[in-house]
Structure formats: C-alpha cells, structure tokens
C-alpha cells in the first residue's frame, strides 16, 4: 500500500512536470480554430503541422538554436572554469579581502539588471564586441558568475578540510590534494553550476536583445519573441511549435549531463 502511494505520488509529480510540455505539443498541433475553442481539447481533433511549417518558414530557428547552443555552452564552461578556483579560494582562505569579495558577490546580485546593461553595452561597443556572439558570451559569463561563485563555494565548504589535511599528511601537495581529493567530491557541484549557467544563458533575452542587432547572429529567445504582438496578443500556433523545438537542445544537454550529475554524487558518497 505504501509503495502504491509512492507510485501515485511519483506519477502525479511527473504529470505535473510534463504538463507544460504536453500542452505545448498539443497547441503546436492545433489549427487556429481549435486553439480558440472555449472548451480546450487535449488531443487535437484535426492535427496539423502547419504551425511547424510557419515557424520554420518564417524564422531561422535552426540557425538561432545553434547560435544559442554555442553561446550557452561557451558561457557555462567559461563560468565554471573561472568560478572553480575562485570559489575554492573564497571557501578556504579566511581574510578581510576574502570577506569583502564574498560581500561584493552578494551585493552584485542586488543590482537591477537594467542598471548594468548600458555601461556594459558601452564597454562592448568600445571593444567592438557588439553584434557578436563572443560579446554575448562575455556578458552571460559576467551575468552568471556571481551566483555560480556563490553556489560553488558552498560545495567547496561542504568538502571536509580534514580530507585535504589527510592528503597533506600522506605527502600530497595542495594542488595534488585539490586535483585528487577535492575535485571528485566537487563534481556534483560543478555539474549543477554548469546546468545553472547553461540554463541562464540559454534563456537569456534582454542582453541579447540589446547587443545583437544583426539578424544573422540572433539567438533563439530573440527569434521566439517574433511571434508575439502588442498587448499580449500572440500567434500561438507557430510560437508553440517554435518553443517546442527550442526545448529539445536543452533537454538533450540535460540528458547527457544528468548522468554526470549522478556519477558525481556517487563519487562524493564513496569519498565522503
């Protein structure tokens, strides 16, 4: 009976999580008439691929998706590469400078998004990075870094110092103990940070809107918004079709990286 309840809860949870995706699929396959029914249907009565044809015919979704993928991958990897050593230093070394750095990371999260966009935009313009994907990567890394640092230093703190001390007693240098002892235990944290950075970059709209003007470099969120009009009116069919396609790369990325997340957790368990 208990097991049955667990299964029911699990199924209910999966249904809850899958609802938006299922609704998106259903909407993407409906005709405009069916979409406007007062009593919505789950299964399209007269399924059509016209919305997909419209979405792909009108916008360069594949190109925009590839550009988004490149930007998100570079942004997330660079964020992790920068935040990993920095977070180790923040977590392990106690000094006034360190406390100031941690405070600054926290304070930087308080700034309204819009306050930094103009100065950042001007810096990028002076560096000739406006209208370029590297420019957007720089912005996304800057934008994601504080939270990534904060996340990772929490994971570093969770690794007992005693493990490093034990390694030192066995003759390991600090670098060696970091590489052999701390790094494997940090794997789940690194993967979680990577996921967070990837999602932040993949979904980011405002910076991309301001920085990318050339249609040839626009990312997926900029392309999706083209199906919306004023006062919340939208072309729901093509928007749903395009949004559905937009979820696929991130789902694949999640599927790949989720295994790493699990193996990292296992590694942490053994070492801990």
């Amino acid at each position: 009976m208990r097991r049955f309840s667990q299964y029911v809860a699990l199924v209910a949870y999966i249904v809850f999580l899958a609802f938006p995706l299922a609704w998106l699929l259903s909407t993407a396959l409906k005709t405009p008439r069916e979409m406007a029914l007062a009593d919505p249907t789950w299964i399209p009565r007269d399924p059509t691929l016209a919305n997909f044809a419209d979405a792909f015919g009108e916008q360069d979704l594949v190109g925009a998706g590839l550009r988004s993928l490149v930007v998100a991958l570079f942004s997330s990897v660079i964020t992790v590469l920068i935040s990993l050593p920095a977070s180790y230093a923040m977590a392990r070394y106690r000094s006034l400078l360190n406390r100031i750095a941690i405070g600054w990371v926290l304070v930087s999260q308080v700034f309204p998004f819009i306050l930094i966009i103009i100065p950042l935009f001007m810096i990028l313009r002076d560096l000739d990075l406006v209208n370029t994907l590297p420019g957007l990567v720089v912005v996304h890394v800057t934008f994601t870094l504080p939270f990534a640092l904060w996340m990772l230093q929490g994971y570093v703190r969770a690794v007992p110092r005693e493990l490093e001390e034990a390694a030192a007693v066995d003759g390991a240098t600090r670098l060696r103990s970091i590489a052999s002892v701390v790094a494997p235990l940090l794997a789940p944290g690194v993967v979680a940070t990577l996921l967070f950075s990837f999602i932040s970059s993949w979904n980011e709209f405002m910076f991309a809107l301001v920085i990318l003007q050339n249609p040839d470099v626009m990312t997926l969120p900029l392309t999706l918004v083209r199906f919306t009009g004023p006062e919340g009116v939208a072309r729901l069919g093509p928007l749903a079709a395009a949004s559905l396609m937009a979820t696929i790369p991130s789902l694949i990325f999640f599927a790949i990286i989720q295994r790493r997340l699990k193996s990292g957790l296992m590694a942490g368990a053994v070492k801990g």
């Binding site: 008439r33 935009f121 009116v233």
Partner: protein, 435 residues
Amino acid sequence: MRITSALAAAAILTLAAACGGGGGGAQSSSAPNEPVKINFLSLAWQKESVAANKQLVDEWNKANPNIQVTYVQGSWDNVNDQLVTQFAGGTAPDVIHNDSPALSGFASDGYLLDLKDKLPAELKSDIPQPAWDTVTFDDGKGQQGVYGVPFLQESQVIIANKKLLDASGARVPTPDNPWTWDEFSAAAKKMTKGGNFGVAWPMKSPVNKTLNLALNFGGTFFQTADGKTTVKVGPEEREVLQRIHDQLYKDKSADPAALGQGTADPLPAFYKGKFALLPAGVFLRQQVAEQAPEGFEWVTLPAPKGTSAQQGAVSQTLSIAQDSKHPDEAMKFIAFFLNGANQAKLAKGDWLLPTSQAAAADPAMTTKENGWDVATASAKNLVVAPFLKVNGFDEWKTKVATPTLQEYFANKITIDQAASKLVEDGNKVLERYQR
C-alpha cells in the same frame, strides 16, 4: 515591467552620457564605393505583415543597389528597452518602427531626428494633418518637430455576434449613424439573457482604450496651463468610465469574467455566445477571421458616440535615429516604404488603418469583407490623443492609471476615489517631468 525597466534605464542615461557614450554614431558605415547600409528595425509580427515588410525591403534593395536596407525584426514588448540602450550607446537602427506615444520622450531626449524639413512633399500631402499631429512633439528645447512618419492607426470598433445582434432586434449601427452610448447600453441589455451577456470589456490594459474613447465626451484627462500639464478627471473624463462601470454592476449586461482579461482572451467565450458584443481595436478582426468556428457569423460595428464620435488616435510610426549616418537615404527608404500602394499592403497585413489617403481609397480597404468598410470609415473620427503630448504619460499610465482603473472596474473603489488617485498621484508623477 517593460516600462519600469525603461524608466530605470532612462535614469542612468545621463550618467552613461557623461561616461563618454556619445559619438558612437550608427553602425552602418560604408567605404566610398560601397553601398550605403541602413538597418530597419521592424515590429511587424503577423504573418502577412512580416511578409509584406520583407517583400517591400526586397523590392527596395533590388531597385536601389547603392542603398541597401537590412531588415531587423524587433518586438513590441521590448522595443523601448532596446532603444533606450542603443540610443545611449549610439548604435540605434537607422530606421525605427514604433508607436507615437513612445516618440515624445525620445524626441525630447534628442535621440530622434526632426523630419519636418526632410519629408518629401508627396508623402507629406498624402497623410492628413491629424495623423502628423500624433508625431509632432517638443524637442526638449521648446521647438516643435516631426519625429516620425505616421503610417498605421488603430481605432476602436465593436465586433458583434451577428446572430445575437439580429435576434435582439436592436438597430444595427452604421458608420454614418453609430449607436449613442445610451443605445449601446440598451442593446447590451437586450442581449443579456439566459446566463449570457450583452458585452465584454477586457480590462487588463484599460488605459489606452478608455482614454481614447473618453474623447467621445470631450474627456482629455490632461490639461496644460502656463506651460504646466496636470491630470484632469472632470465630468467629461468620468462619462465613459462610469458607463462601462454601469454595464458591469448596474445593468449587469457586461460579462464580469472578461474583466481581468487581455484584448484577445475573451474570443473563445465570444465564439461560444457567452456575450454578443466585444469592443476592441480594429486589429482584432484578424484573429476573429482566422479563428472563428465554421458558420459563426460576425460583423464589425462602429464604436458608440457621445457628444461626438471622436476617438484618440495612436499611430505606428517610422522614425530616423539622430545618430544615423545616412539620414537622407533613410528618408528615401521611408518615402518608398510608406507610399500609398505600400501602406495599403501594410495595413492589410496588420489589419489596421492606413494614414495614407491614397491607401485608404484602395478598394481592398473598403470592402465589406471582414468589416474593412466600417474599420476604414472609423478613421475619420480619429483625432490626436491629448496624452500623446504629455511627457511622463508612460509612467502615469503604468504606475497610476492602470492599477487605479483596474480597481475601479473591479468595483473596489468609487469613481470619486479613482478620480482622486488619478489626479493626485498622477500630478506627483508629472511634476518630476516638468522640473
């Protein structure tokens, strides 16, 4: 949120300028023998409209190898945030699609080019003066300038369920003889029966709709004396607000379910016959034509009239950035893009009304099909909306008017309380813009 962001960004523009942001110039520069390159930020979003935009740009590019236009698609929801940043950074597109309420602030900040001496005579004469009035603003130094070319306008009409309208026995209004507000209320009451309602007022974004219709009774909501603009909510301004409120709570002829909805949200219930009349912008006809179930008959009726049939006009516009390196070429492109024949294509694509008189005379704009005849006829009632000229209107609308009107229409406050909030809180907002 969009407005909040824009305001926050505007607050640091001065700082940004002080940091040496100026002088960037536009991004489209060309070597002497290369074609001039112009970026055109378009906000077209409907399928037909995007197609018409792209087709016109292609036509231009083929015919003008020395002036090449790049079509850049933007979004209505974010365009002002985007422009605030790009203006500050000196990288705004050369040709900018927007709507007239947004131009006043950008013009007074010096980001838009004054077009009054650049407009070709043919374009100028083809568009009537009331439309030009919607884009004529103070330049921030006391001079009036023309900061955009107005090309599409939206008027309010009533989209009606023909079967329920006919069954009610109410007189069918025509552009020459529209319903008075009393007739409109009486018709709505007749159509209210069996759990269905006569009318639905989606009031998620109530400000533009009510302010534009308030001109029916001469309600301007703003007054300027001795160079100072203040909010005014007198008997003229209250008339339309009160009448809508009465339909909701006194006559009970308005569907309360629609109150919190956006413009297009009530359509499924409309097709189902839950209500018979839907006051809306002319563009909503497109959704009805596309979505209405087989056999559903609908007609477009003119908006009701008060002491006059006047409505506030808001135009879609094309402007040129002050920093554009090719303003003359940009103007040539605009003149081509907005000629009569092309405006007719754009208006059909967006289901809006062209400002061009030549375009309005196009047979496609006066056909009975999908209510084009009624929609086009409504253009004669459009006059410049007074709020267009008010610096600070956007903030008043977002922070004061929208929540206040929503509360009033939800019957949480009286009309006196609403009027008091609109005036007192509104004047505090306007005060900041007039220092």
